[in-house]
């Protein structure tokens, strides 16, 4: 193949701006925003009730706002972990097949742009929308926290909060890429939405069980040696980490709970010299979650690339 003429990204900015504007003005977006804001407020309110009793006992009290659950409500973090994939899927499930259904694809692709620009512009617009929603919710929650507890977050708490946002965005990016991929593969938006939600359900509900069942098969414990048991635990964790949900949960844990010192099984030998219960400095927590971050981004790249390959070969006529 000879080199293509011109830039693969000419028109990218134009597509991005249009898609971003569409996302922000769409009804679908309003509904989801409302949903997220309401749940965020509810969980934070519940958390504040719990936290008020322990003021003064905890240096990272402000971060507890995000992670504290009060029956029957789950924590803010748990809620976001649940809603963000749905939001991402909602933003991306009809990205390409929607154009196809509206019969705009041929017209747009006959303008002097490559297909790359259309696909990437849509992805970036989805990501930007997601980022904007996350940032607003986070600001809202932080503001409510300050208002009702009288606490002011420390610099480190703000930094950890923002890193948590970044991790959430990376996680949302994976589901956005999954949704985009299905929007290329399936001509019908309903099918692509169901497919994306199906994958999400699979990882949310079933993958943990499957990992638990597969681990003993791959790394059986014959004699009950500690090494065997450890190997099985490691296998199970490695399997679980195929799921973006696991990666995200680990990243959240280490970022918002500074006392978490390791992710995964820990040997007593490794604990030597550690002062349990003391929080890790931010840089160390970051080091801890770096692989999880990389994993989430890699997953996005994989799904985006798949979408790209299929889209390049796609027949644009109805």
């Amino acid at each position: 193949m000879t080199r293509r003429e011109g830039s693969a990204f000419s028109g990218l900015g134009v597509v991005f701006l249009k898609e971003f504007a569409d996302q922000l003005s769409g009804i679908r977006m309003r509904m989801l925003e409302l949903l997220i804001v309401l749940t965020a407020m509810a969980t934070i309110y519940a958390a504040i009730q719990t936290i008020k009793n322990v003021v003064g006992e905890d240096v990272f009290l402000f971060l507890r706002l995000f992670t504290t659950a009060k029956q029957p409500l789950p924590s803010f973090v748990a809620f976001m972990g649940f809603l963000i994939p749905l939001l991402a899927i909602a933003l991306g499930f009809d990205a390409v097949n929607g154009e196809f259904q509206r019969r705009t694809l041929g017209r747009v692709l006959s303008q002097p742009i490559y297909r790359d620009a259309l696909l990437f512009g849509k992805y970036l617009a989805g990501l930007a929308t997601l980022g904007l929603v996350l940032l607003s919710v986070w600001l809202l929650v932080t503001g409510l926290g300050i208002l009702f507890t009288g606490l002011v977050p420390s610099g480190e708490e703000v930094a950890r909060g923002l890193l948590y946002l970044a991790a959430t965005l990376a996680y949302g990016g994976v589901w956005l890429a999954v949704a985009l991929f299905f929007s290329v593969v399936f001509k019908n938006p309903t099918t692509s939405a169901l497919a994306a939600i199906g994958v999400w359900l699979f990882f949310t509900v079933f993958w943990g069980m499957i990992a638990g069942m597969l681990a003993p098969v791959i790394s059986p414990v014959h004699y009950g040696f500690p090494e065997e048991i450890l190997r099985q635990a490691q296998t199970e964790l490695a399997l679980a980490r195929i799921s973006p949900n696991t990666l995200y949960a680990e990243a959240t844990l280490a970022l918002l709970q500074p006392e978490v010192r390791a992710l995964g099984p820990v040997l007593p030998a490794q604990l030597e010299g550690m002062v349990l219960g003391t929080p890790l400095p931010l840089s160390q927590s970051l080091l801890l979650v770096w692989p999880q971050f990389a994993g989430l981004i890699a997953a996005s790249v994989v799904f985006f690339t798949l979408a790209y390959v299929v889209f390049q070969r796609m027949e644009i006529r109805a």
Binding site: T2, E5, V14, R102, T104, G106, R107, Q111, P112, Y114
Partner: protein, 311 residues
Amino acid sequence: MMAAIETQDLTKRYGRLLAVDRLNLVVERGEVFGILGPNGSGKTTTILMLLGLTDPSAGTVRVLGRDPVREPLSVKRRVGYLPDTVGFYDELSGRENLRYTAALNGQTGRRVEARIEALLEQMGLGEAADRPVRTYSRGMKQRLGLADVLLKEPELVILDEPTLGLDPQAAHEFLLLIRSLKEKGLTVLLSSHLLHQVQAITDRVGLFRKGRMELVGSVPELARQVLGGAFRIRVRAAGPGLEQALGRIPGVLRVTEEAHGYLLETERDLRPEVARAVVEAGGKLFELELEEPSLDEIYRAYFQGVNRDAA
């Protein structure tokens, strides 16, 4: 200067199906060329290959001197394309839709706004310009489509089934708009399966069947090839021995008896000679009419012939 479109043995295969079979098409600059054929004869596939929107299986394409496979951007910058079922972003207004197309072509700013306004006016969409496209009729969408195509100031315009789904009046007006492009010096390629509509506005046509372009030329040329005589004269007359008298006129190829007279196929416009022959034979002449051959007829005659030969 190079032809606007030039293909050599252009072929597209879908599995075992030959959608386009060794097409050699030349469209000159400034020409209005119609590709005609029944559904599934390969018109849309040909168009998509011209635009680089689908890759040929074999053969070469040149559009405005460039190869759409290797230089898609420069081809698409200079070619406007109206797909067979054109769609817009329903929730945006006509003007906003055009703005997006302009931006994708790297055009922004005041000059473009003025151009959009002028095109909307020209297409009779001035009133509806700021209404969401959702509220447009089929004909309005089609005219918005033409505005969309002209926005980038193309040298070549490709229209796939431009009158599909339009009522006869809207179709007629739309065809006149297309014809007016020729006066502006544009080259137009349009496809259709509605022959009589296309006849009125094209300089030359190519007849497609099963992926092959079997006939190409102006309508009179095709008529000569397919119908034998290029001219048809309808005579309403009565009298003895008229059929023989008419048959003896030099240049008359065939005489067919009809309800109130005869239908002549002739090489030239022989109306004066026919009138004289009727009078000299002692017949009464009521009416004499020169009939343009219709593309429909050519088409039917040709493909009937082909089918009969094949059977």
